[in-house]
Amino acid sequence: MKNQLKGFLWIGFGVSLLLALFLSPFASSSPDGLEKVAEHHGFAEKGERWTLWQYAPFRDYAIPGIENEKLATALAGLIGTAGIFMIAIGLGKVLRKTKSSRNI
């Protein structure tokens, strides 16, 4: 039972990594719904005037310094997906561990 669970989860994680690696470089680069509305109704520039957080390492889902855009996006997607997997598991463990009574 436990092995089967692990197997299924690894497949799910593998699929997520493959999506990020091989499909994200070919995703539509058109503006999304909100960006389109902002452009169309003339308030897009309000969002470009300033940004509070300047230190995002993978701005616009690209690894800085890699000239090939598709490769930069694919690797950023791979790092993000793997990173969020580990953060979420860490968070899940913390949330579970602080449980006062385990006999639910």
């Binding site: 299924f8 997520s16 909100l34 509305v37 969002g47 993978f58 979420a88």
Partner: protein, 226 residues
């Protein structure tokens, strides 16, 4: 639907931040009561899948793109409070790591996609699923309808925030945002029902709300969102 810095007023962002933080704090408590061995790795995979799938923008009408949100998807797998936590985690990583969504607008983005998307979307799902008498067909109809609404309601919340902030009047922002997201919501419904049906075929026990009536004891009332 990720709102950048500069679109919304600081006052509104402060209010949504407090509401979102409060919802997350309560969510942490609820998840804390529910999570066991099985849920931890499932939460990791769900968050990874949501992040990866959110990168895959698909083209919709008129030079616009949309992408999967995953709020109802996460909530149906792990419960609405874990869904909220997963959406929050994804939004924080996207904001700090990928400059997607403004830091000042983080509270608003969590409100639109987590509180409205996950909690609101799941409430609608749960209501429709119960209304259908918990049939197999009713499950998927409820899932599709709730997924669609999670996008449209999230976009509606964003339009209200833009109007309150004086960025765009409601008569313009609301039809424009709800209209384009009504199309994006169809994609959300297709991806959510496809992904959940694949999981149900292989591991139905991983979909927390599907087996609810079989699970004895306390889990039965877990679906309620107060």
């Amino acid at each position: 639907m990720h709102i950048p810095d500069g679109f919304l007023s600081h006052g509104l962002n402060a209010v949504t931040f407090v509401v979102s933080a409060g919802a997350c704090a309560y969510g942490v408590k609820k998840v804390n009561q529910k999570f066991g061995e099985k849920e931890v790795p499932l939460m990791g995979v769900t968050a990874a899948f949501v992040f990866a799938a959110q990168m895959l923008n698909f083209p919709v009408a008129g030079g616009t793109s949309g992408h999967f949100l995953g709020a109802v998807f996460s909530s149906v797998l792990l419960g609405p409070w874990a869904g909220l936590i997963i959406m929050t985690l994804v939004l924080v990583v996207q904001c700090l790591g990928f400059a997607d969504g403004g830091l000042t607008a983080l509270g608003s983005n969590i409100f639109n996609m987590g509180v409205v998307g996950a909690l609101g979307g799941y409430t609608l799902f749960w209501f429709l699923y119960r209304l259908s008498g918990r049939s197999h067909k009713g499950f998927f109809v409820a899932l599709a309808v709730a997924s669609w609404f999670s996008i449209v309601l999230g976009a509606t919340a964003a339009a209200l925030e833009l109007a309150i902030s004086g960025t765009s009047p409601l008569v313009i922002a609301l039809p424009a945002m709800a209209g384009i997201h009504a199309i994006i919501g169809v994609g959300e419904a297709i991806i959510t029902t496809t992904a959940v049906s694949l999981i149900l075929k292989t591991r139905p026990d991983l979909v927390s709300c599907f087996h609810k009536r079989i699970v004895p004891g306390g889990l039965a009332q877990e679906g309620g969102v107060s």
